[in-house]
Amino acid sequence: MKPLVKEALAITRELGDVIFLGAIARYLYTKDLRESQDLDFATEKPILNEELLLLNYKKEYRNGKEIWYTPRGIKIDRYTRDVSKIPMDRIIKNSKYIQVSNKGEKLRTIGLESLIVAKHRAGREQDSEDLSAVAKIKFGEINWETLREISGDEHEYNQIKSDMSYLAKSR
């Protein structure tokens, strides 16, 4: 099992049913991952800093920004309001559980359609690469009606559909 998946399971045990985002979500859908030492997740309810400290999570400041680490030294980013302007209630509704071990252990992750909308909106170089990987492997599983609802914008929806279709067939 990938170290970051083990870490995500440990976080789930400690903090409850969090929804994983970012690179680990890409991994859960494509099984292809270059791990950086950080995990992004959304929570239905905010987790207080005091709770994290009680669980031996650690706080540091870098570039004047508060950064949190798990007890095992992995950086975490918590999202509580929205993910790339997708409201949290939609992230929660579209989330899904993916089995990550033969023992039946599961991780809750951002839904495929939310992941695509979020990455398309972020538009960074690594997001295009992630979208390309997702398109090649998961294009046939995308629920376009759900994606349309999550986007909430017909122009953006058409753009994403057309881009994903292109990426799915790219070399």
Binding site: P3, D32, L33, R34, E35, S36, Q37, D38, E60, R62, N63, K65, I67, Y69, G73, K75, H120, G123, R124, E125, Q126, S128, E129, L131, S162, D163, Y166, L167, K169, S170, R171
Partner: protein
Amino acid sequence: MQISEPFPEKEISFAQAFEPRTVYTVKKDAVPVAGSERTAYRRLVVLESLGLATFRNGRFQITSRVSRQPPILLKKLLPSLIALKNARRFGRFYNDSDIRFMMKHAPEHSLVTLDFKAWDLTKFQTPSDLFIYVYDVEEFATFLKDKGFSEGKKGHVVLLPKTGDFENEIERVYLDCIARGGRSTLDAVAIELLHGDKLSVRGQFPIETVLKVQEDMPPEMINIEATG
């Protein structure tokens, strides 16, 4: 395209004209920049030969934001771009055992670059594919095939033709990371942050990318940077 050919300035300017987006259309996006559909396709053909663009059915992708780099760096990137364009990918069991085999049998004077070398230098992102420069790609490809490897798109062993300058190994890895783009751009930023004193040229990266790498860098690597 060979390294000796003139630097494709017009094509690079063309690629630089587009705002970052996933996919573009030739008619709506490229023609206004190039002046005509024919010129647009001519530019795209050259960019594709460098691995900087793909196009199909009137749509295209600028596959890497390499074109946004300063001209002095772009010239240094050409050998990396050409090597990546001519990369050949191999797999046997399609897992880590392929990598271990390759590490054990790497030919003399070969050089590991990208994922694995960037991991050695930065500990920022775990490696996935083993990119390795070899003098004679054909000869080593034959060796791999004899050992049961197949050539295709999914293997984790990638052979690159050894062309260009390798005197400054860290700089070459840095340039390769920029040339490859995507997540390798994050490796390039990490190399610059940790080994900037070894580089004679510097890339230009979006500030949010630099901040992300700084924030996500393992604390022990930041300490190395601070102490030494």
